[in-house]
Amino acid sequence: MDEQMTPVSAWERVEHAREAARPTAKTYIDGIFTDFVELHGDRRFGDDQAVIGGIGRLEGRPVTVIAQEKGGDTKEKIARNFGCANPEGYRKSQRLMRQAEKFGRPVLLIVDTQGAYCGIGAEERGQGQAIAENLQLMMQLSVPAVAVLIGEGGSGGALALASANRVAMLENAVYSILSPEGFAAILWKDAARAKEAAGLMRMTAREVYAMGIVEEVIPEPPGGAQEDVQAVAQAMKDFFLRSLEELDAMDTSTLREDRYRRFRRMGDCGLDPQNG
């Protein structure tokens, strides 16, 4: 046992977030939205199944939904590349966000990925460029954007869909600069020290909330989200509705300013280390 103050250690959260039984994005899409129509493809290269996009209704109101999907059984996991998107996934999300903007629909995002895919083709087709463009587009959107991290929030691949006005994490979700294994490999040249890294990275929902990087932590039942999917889906739905109620009251420029300010304040700096 490590000397964690909280009853559940960071590493246990990581294990929760990765559990095979943990509900994936599809489950929540079904539980939260009605009338969902999936839309495929980035109109440039292909259709990345690690990202599900489409239009549905949130309490009757049309919304654009963009979600990272890891897949259920092994066959589906492979088809969905375990939720690790290629550039096409990020370009699909860009296409659907622009479409949402055109029709004045809010963009609701469900984030769950170890990270963007690190493959040869991904590099050749501009993984970095695709993520960068996503970040910038999200910040420029004229419609509200609200995101929930449901499992793993790994690196730029997660951030690309989490640069929203309001962001929440499920209680057992994690959000980090890199997987604890990658982090340990880089800093200590030893991926086996992932557990130790997780304890230092402040990647659990409560720690991320304490740093002011997410607005809410959505509680999960004991044993994790799989123990009561309906309740968790309802809590996510409530978060989306509550956030939209607040954001709907803003005109376009206020909405964009709100999003700009949200990220602008992240990372205190200054000569005084306590008050940047």
Partner: protein, 307 residues
């Protein structure tokens, strides 16, 4: 970011024989605004008259390399530069006015050993952080410029780097000036965790506003530009230039090899490869950069704008 230690090895190869040269101000007259390097590593060894090119292994006079702007006269390999060397080679003499020189970040994770690492990086480079920002002219054209420094913790981006770049871009938007950023980075800084990651959105957002104001942003990708920097401001230029041979990518070579379980094609992630794939506008040798930047800045210097 998996390329971290690979890069560090390369870095050592370069900076050992050329240590002093790499830190020596290119144009002393221009260094007034930038604090001089207070390197404890200055040793007689650094005054070696010979240096070995890490690319072609040719043993050369150090002076022949420094006088060639740190480009190997034999094979044209572009050695890495410090931020102040870069400014010396790029901006008009005496034009640089630094901003936020003392700006520093916190230690948001209270990460063990980070404070010491920062202290060492500061002593080694004479900089407070891994980017130098300010106002300058390039061939008479006014710009806001940010130059990253790979000698400072691999040019990694934490809160201070993100904040300095954001302020530089916001200042450019206020003053209606173009932005030029020279990138060199191992990516987001691990020791600041998620706070580093957030800088990707923050910098991209500031550049988005700058772009919406109809202003020009030029990126110059230098060796190496990777990870979270590639996946944010490095790839957002209206015009993206690169130095010959610069490594430009999102994921590190080792991480990719582990993921795909095959070796990578020749020249993978080099500037020429990245241009071939459509992500770089032009590869410009170091000596031609000020001229090319000046030309591009003049082409965008319009009194009458349409649209």
């Amino acid at each position: 970011m998996g390329m971290f230690d690979k890069i560090r090895k390369n870095q050592a190869m370069i900076s050992v024989p050329l240590g002093a040269a790499a830190r020596k101000p290119a144009r002393p007259s221009q260094e007034a605004a930038i604090p001089p390097a207070k390197s404890k590593e200055m040793s007689p060894e650094d005054t070696n008259i010979f240096a070995k090119c890490p690319a072609c292994n040719a043993v050369l006079f150090t002076e022949d390399i420094t006088e060639n702007q740190m480009v190997c006269p034999r094979c044209q390999h572009h050695l890495r530069l410090s931020a102040r060397q870069r400014l010396g080679y790029t901006v008009d003499e005496g034009s640089f006015v630094e901003m936020d020189a003392e700006l520093a970040g916190n230690d948001p994770l209270q990460f063990p050993g980070y404070e010491n690492k920062l202290r060492a990086a500061r002593a080694y480079t004479g900089l407070t952080e891994a980017v130098v920002t300010g106002y300058a002219t390039i061939q008479g054209e006014p710009v806001m410029i940010a130059v990253m420094d790979g000698n400072f913790m691999m040019g990694s981006m934490g809160a201070a780097v993100g904040e300095k770049i954001t302020r530089c871009v916001e200042e450019a938007t206020r003053r209606r000036l173009p932005v030029v950023i020279f990138t060199v980075s191992g990516g987001a800084r691990m020791q600041e965790g998620l706070v580093s990651l957030m800088q990707m959105t923050k910098t991209s957002a500031a550049l988005g506003r700058h772009g919406e104001a109809g202003l020009l942003y030029i990126t110059v990708l230098t060796d190496p530009t990777t990870g979270g920097v590639t996946a944010s401001f490095a790839m957002l230029g209206d015009i993206i230039l690169a130095e010959p041979g610069a490594l430009v990518g999102f994921a590190g070579k080792r991480v990719i090899e582990q993921t795909v379980k095959q070796s990578l094609p020749e020249g993978f992630q080099r500037a020429e490869f990245v241009m071939d794939k459509g992500f770089v506008d032009a590869i410009v040798p170091r000596r031609e950069l000020p001229g090319r930047l000046g030309q591009l800045l003049r082409l965008h210097h319009q009194e009458v704008r349409h649209g």
